[in-house]
């Protein structure tokens, strides 16, 4: 099928302005409450209900770290996650489909549990956010980008910033990197 695209001139110019716009934006004032977000949806076979997957950052301005916490260590992250999970349980909203992806806890919860999630995630958000950004190198996203670089003969850098720069400089078609594998 024919496809229509933005003109290359417009796309190139806008992309450059967008990157600059984002990179130079001043921090905005934080709101008092983190709006709980929904990241992934899936249908739970057992319940047939819609679920959302957490452990998936939504709010980039998730508030300051708790008093006494300067660095989010594994222990800090795991303890905060345990409190979050306990809060969900107390609210009658158990987490489901829990898994660990690159050191990040992922989970699902029923859509009807959204109010409980919103209440419980507020305290977990600052820690979860910082932990996920710090571990982006091991995320599925960056694993695919690294594989793409390797596939073109480029040795991926050792941190996420370097990988991003390599992808940009290499001119890789990012869409192809994220398409499902066709070789099994």
């Amino acid at each position: 099928m024919n496809t229509v695209r933005m003109s290359p001139e417009f796309a190139t110019a806008f992309r450059a302005r967008l990157v600059e716009h984002v990179a130079t934006a001043r921090p905005r004032r934080r709101r008092g409450l983190v709006a709980g977000g929904v990241a992934l949806t899936l249908t739970l076979a057992a319940s047939g209900g819609l679920a959302a997957v957490g452990g998936a950052f939504t709010n980039p301005e998730a508030g300051p770290l708790p008093d006494g916490v300067d660095v989010v260590t594994q222990q800090v992250y795991d303890d905060a996650y345990a409190k979050f999970e306990a809060c969900m349980n107390e609210g009658g909203a158990s987490l489901a489909a829990k898994r660990d992806v690159g050191g990040v806890h992922e989970f699902s919860y029923l859509a009807e549990a959204q109010p409980v999630y919103d209440k419980c995630y507020v305290d977990f958000a600052p820690i979860d956010f910082r932990w996920q950004v710090a571990h982006s190198y091991e995320s599925e996203t960056f694993i695919r980008l690294r594989e793409c670089l390797t596939g073109t003969g480029i040795e991926p850098g050792e941190d996420a910033d370097t990988v991003l720069a390599q992808v940009k400089d290499s001119g890789l078609d990012v869409q192809e990197c994220f398409e499902p594998s066709t070789n099994g």
Partner: protein, 194 residues
């Protein structure tokens, strides 16, 4: 449907916190899709380019409120694009200085445009969207045009899955009654079958 399959989540995490490079890759991933969505509604390349640009700028401005579906902001982007197309003048006013500085294509339809016009553009689509409220238009565009399930679209626009299904039933009935032409009927029949 979702080729990206949630693998872009880390890009969003970084982009939404001010990493311009990551945000640029999000544009690389979805710029074409967003543009096609806008073109489908507006049927004008320059307008569709502006609507696409506004959608990505809104993605940044409203980053705290973006709801991801399968780890991707694409459904939110498409819903925002739908709404931007309905109020393009307002979107242009907000970002006038940036949009005015961008090089638009020569406004002559290419053979490609003409071919697309016959394939995916519904001449009554804009009229159909204009009939609907903003949330209904966003929902309709995601489900009937972009192929998302009502449940996934519900997440993107911030309503419950049940409410989304109820709304789609109402939208379908309303549009079929008012605009029951062949192409639109095709969209609706496809959606109803899922």
């Amino acid at each position: 449907m979702a080729a990206i399959d949630g693998a872009e989540r880390a890009l969003w995490q970084r982009g939404a916190t001010g990493d311009g490079g990551a945000f640029g890759l999000i544009f690389d991933l979805h710029g074409d899709r967003v543009f096609r969505h806008a073109y489908r509604i507006l049927r004008d390349v320059q307008d569709a380019e502006d609507a696409s640009a506004v959608a990505f700028l809104e993605l940044w401005r409203r980053r705290r409120d973006v709801r991801l579906v399968d780890g991707s902001p694409l459904p939110w982007l498409l819903a925002t694009t739908t709404n931007t197309c309905r109020n393009l003048d307002r979107g242009r006013r907000r970002y006038r200085s940036m949009l005015d500085s961008l090089p638009h294509a020569v406004p002559a339809p290419s053979a490609e445009d003409i071919a697309l016009d016959g394939q995916v553009v519904d001449s009554d689509l804009a009229a159909a969207l204009a009939m609907l409220s903003r949330p209904d238009a966003e929902l309709f565009a995601l489900v009937a045009l972009e192929g998302y399930t009502a449940a996934d679209a519900a997440v993107a626009i911030g309503v419950s899955p049940g409410a989304a299904r109820t709304r789609m039933h109402r939208i379908r009935a309303r549009l079929q009654e008012r605009l029951g032409h062949r192409t639109l009927a095709g969209y609706l029949a496809k959606e109803a079958a899922t």
